[in-house]
Amino acid sequence: MRIPVVLLLLKSYLKGTKPLRSVTQRFSFGKKKSVRTISGVVLSLLMLASLMSFVFLLGTNYYNYQLVGMMVGVPHVGLLMGAAFATLSLLIFAFPAAINILHAAKEIERLRALAISESELALSRMIIFYFNFFPIYLFFVIPALIVGIMTTGFSFFYLLSSLFLLLVGPMIPISLVTLLEITVVHLTKGRRAQRSGELFYLVVMMALVIGISSQMGKNAEMTGNLEGLTHQLAPVIRKLTRFLAPFALQAQGLYNPILLLVWLAGALLLAYITFTVTAGTYHHACSLLASGGYRTKKRRKNNTGEQKPIVALMKRDWTILLSTSGFIFELGGELLIPLILIITYTAMGIIGDISQATKVLAQYPIFEPVVVLIVLLMSNINLLSCTSVSRQGKLALHDRLYPLEPKVFVDAKFYLHMALVGTTNTIYLLAATLILKLSIGNLWFYVMLSLISIAGTSYFHLAIDYHNPLLEWTSAQQAMKRNPNGFLGMLVSFLFVVWVALFLVGLPYFFEISQSNALMAALGMAVVTAKAGQRLAYRSAKGFLA
């Protein structure tokens, strides 16, 4: 194997994709240079601030774990959790991208025709895969390492072993995901490999998360006094340490040279085996995917009857949503979050506890609007409209050819958003009303308020994406998860809910205005804001499509 060739492949990948520059370019708006610079700086700072707040929250959690562990005589639990969260996150996030990066990226077909060996190409793709997810690993592990310093102090060995953890740690989940991806490609013979693999993977991951949660939940009936709490927590923490033994080894390796060498050797051996398997099967896997993808797929006769343009556009957007598993899983995850939480809590056996706790909370008048706002927030945080134009890719430019007003395109996307998000939100709100015994009389107004808020958010999201859509992408993740418009959209979603909350909760709390008047005020403000969002979306679409 020629290492300079591998380095050349990596260099050409970086030059060809310019990952950092493309992100910074997308964080600027406006035609004037000064406006672009200011908007770029402001948005980057916002992004940094939200990242830092997440890091702080993670650190606080790890710190609590670390302290609880020390209380019951199990050291480094915070570090263990950091390594476990980081690995689990990579296992979850890396798999959907594995096929696209390792075997099915557009440039691979061209590269395979060049005088490059399978092992050189395989190694370069594995390194690209590793670096794509390296930042996520850092994001989860660095707060834990800081907690380690805070609780046990700093040493040169700790610094050295931390560096090893940061660099070698991601190799474990990346190797596991790679091996699983190769297995899926071979088992499915390349036909719909991505979708079937992800479905299987989603089920396994859900089962794993629910399994761990329910196991831990069974031991988590706490008492009030510290002695009793310590006594009851000890078996949970020990069970956790046993269950997550590989991560306990990683955590202890930060302080013990022999344990460090043991896990390092294990991780490097796994990475080497993965490389050998990947290189050995590379040509065959690429070939399977190519033949599986190009095989003619006959379809049953579809309904192609006459429809209004707006319905045709909605159907088109729906087809795009279903076109790749990346879009399907993103959307499915977002729309079904409350349902997933209910299943998880039921499996954990704490749904009854939640129900009991809400009986107490329900006595407060603020309880009802807060529940509505929480359901609204869960529905509103989604990437459906704020990446809708981006998901069309270069084909979005074709919309300029069609003889339709720009508002028709906006409305089609908006109605699809309402059909998906509005409907699920109404169902969840109805379920919350029944489960938490909220006032049926207010339900109609809360549904109205939620639908208007979702509508307004959708319009603002469309305004963002029509203003600066990300049309050049090679994987579904780039169009949705890694699309800065998605980040801006989530921010807008959050701010919209805060804006509604100011009236719905803020007015009765601070000015003692009656709940019904506050609800009317919130409804009024939501309508006005949604109308402004609609105007902005139409203007933005006109700019893009005219």
Binding site: E306, Q307, R316
Partner: protein, 240 residues
């Protein structure tokens, strides 16, 4: 009639013009061949005609309608076939054509009749229920032509339409374009294949470095100098 009047376009403030002072007229029943070396400004001009790009100055009009004044009416008159036709790969050809039919509000009966006629002409009728993702380049090209002709446009604009077509398909497309011209439609296409231009076009334009350096009939050009189109093309573009 298609009129391009003093079109200017450049992609950056200090960059050279991609299209500069381009003026041309193409009348009903004409097949206009647009020739030029790579990077001469053919695709930029075409994109301005089909309103994918706005010109910096100048305007394009079709039967007196401009994209600026009435974009919807203007777009209704135009069918466009891109050099690399792109589709939503998970749609079947029939679904895509139904989508176009809905956007242009073509009644069902008329739509079915046109699709079956065009699909038979271009021999794509057996693949209409297949996913576009499984199509070869030639099949995509044929589908793009059917999509462009489905709304029965007044002007058909094609960017390198013969690339990737097998000889039989190429022959069928040429016949189709001639038929359209006979019906009084305007056919505007760019090509690198000088023989195609020579066989098919009733008039041609040669563009080099963004400027239209010839506009007229092939016969008039040949009458000036007794040379082949290839020699004339090379001579004109090298001078530019």
């Amino acid at each position: 009639m298609l009129i391009c009047d003093k079109l200017y376009k450049r992609y950056a403030k200090n960059a050279p013009y991609a299209v500069e002072d381009l003026t041309l007229k193409v009348g009903e029943g004409e097949i206009f061949g647009f020739l030029g070396p790579n990077g001469a400004g053919k695709s930029t001009t075409i994109k301005m005609i089909v309103s994918l790009l706005n010109s910096d100055s100048g305007e394009v009009s079709l039967d007196g309608i401009t994209a600026k004044d009435d974009p919807i009416a203007y777009k209704r008159l135009i069918g466009y076939v891109a050099d690399e036709p792109q589709f939503y790969d998970k749609m079947s050809a029939n679904e895509h054509l139904a989508f176009i039919g809905d956007l242009y509000r073509i009644p069902q009966g008329e739509r079915t009749e046109r699709i079956s006629k065009l699909a038979v002409t271009l021999r794509l009728q057996d693949a209409l229920d297949d996913e576009i993702g499984s199509f070869s380049h030639g099949m995509r090209q044929k589908l793009a032509i059917i999509s462009a002709l489905l709304p029965a446009p007044k002007l058909l604009v094609l960017d390198e339409p013969m690339v990737g077509l097998d000889p039989k398909a190429s022959f069928e497309v040429k016949n189709l374009l001639k038929e359209l011209a006979k019906e009084g439609k305007i056919v505007f296409f760019s090509t690198h294949v000088l023989e195609v231009a020579q066989q098919l076009c009733t008039s041609l334009g040669i563009i080099n470095e963004g400027k239209l350096i010839y506009h007229g009939t092939f016969e008039a050009l040949q009458n000036e100098r007794d040379e082949s189109l290839e020699e004339l093309f090379l001579e004109l573009t090298e001078k530019g």
